[in-house]
Symmetry: C2
Subunit: 211 residues, 2 copies
């Protein structure tokens, strides 16, 4: 499934820009899909599993490119963006890049520059996708844990002994072992080392971390 062909989305209210970009990108063997507005794009794009990036004009009627960036961020949709603009300024570019945009290109730009940016964005996009999928897969498994198991988990990754966990929770060591077993099974790991690595990726904090 990671062999999906990447796609480049183009959002610009100027049809001539859309067409020329489309042509350029297709000549570079990329799949392309164009939209006349941010809204149109947001309504149409649902397949978040395909490697992709987004080229957007900054200034557009309705939702601007920068707003679109915010929307995507709010939707936890990590789609690498390339901005193009006719009348952008430095503060605008700084803001966009600081929020994670890959490039901010003032028009006119040359083809090579854009293609380089697209390449970079797609690379980043695949990494994002991989990381995102990994994370959601982990969270999915975390959700199968019962509250108690979830609690035990935080003690496990803190490195406590069964005996210590039992004391902390005021339960029998045998009970801890039972939960512990379930945690390992449900999370699909067979060592504490793996468990720690998984939970780190998911942002789970070990018990007793700065209360």
């Amino acid at each position: 499934m990671p062999t999906d062909e990447p796609i480049v989305y183009v959002v610009d209210d100027d049809v001539s820009i859309r067409d020329s970009l489309s042509l350029l990108l297709q000549s570079a063997a990329y799949d392309v899909q164009t939209f006349a507005s941010a809204k149109e794009f947001l309504d149409a794009v649902t397949d978040l599993q395909r490697p992709a990036c987004l080229i957007s004009d900054v200034k557009m009627p309705g939702i601007s490119g920068l707003d679109l960036q915010d929307e995507l961020e709010a939707a936890a949709c990590p789609l690498p963006m390339i901005f193009i603009t006719g009348h952008g300024d430095i503060p605008m570019s700084v803001k966009a890049i600081k929020k994670g945009a890959v490039e901010f290109l003032p028009k006119p730009f040359d083809d090579g520059t854009l293609l380089a940016a697209v390449k970079e964005a797609l690379t980043k996009g695949e990494q994002n996708l991989t990381r995102h999928n990994e994370k959601s897969h982990i969270r999915q498994r975390l959700d199968t844990l019962t509250p108690r198991e979830r609690e035990i988990l935080t003690y496990l990754i803190a490195g406590l002994l069964n005996k210590q966990i039992a004391y902390e929770l005021d339960i029998a060591e045998r009970t801890v072992k039972a939960h512990r077993k379930q945690v390992m099974v449900k999370m699909g790991v067979d060592s504490i080392a793996e468990l720690v690595r998984l939970t780190e990726k998911a942002g789970i904090k070990p018990a007793g971390t700065s209360p």
Copy 2:
């Protein structure tokens, strides 16, 4: 020691800029040190343990601000930078921010904007410093490991059993235990969970990771 007062370095070839910035920053209760060139700055600043940030002009005779950024990066010196410029353009700002600069301010800018940037930079600087110190402390401990211990370490954080490690390295289980003990002692941890967390921070990869 984290109670050190932060300092703001200013590098600009224009003395009037230096003076006005100095005044502004001092009025905001920051320690300030100014330099007329990047070279002067690089020669003078040695205390990397103090929370700090750097405000630099982009265009200067000799080493430019962007070059200075490269120099600092090469020296693994994570000093958050704020660029100010009279004639900067968008590609320049994009490049600077992508390389980690905190702000890129075209002149003229208002005092509030600069002070906000300084505040942000100093916050980032402290985080950098903390992370950097933590990392170097870990590496320091890693360096006390013998080659064999270092090797065992990678198997430990991969979650292998003593028995398995012994088989992999074709040595006795008792030997693995001996090394294992040394690793734990030297790294100053008493659980595999902690060991995994430490090595993650230091970028150590577990054995058997995509060879």
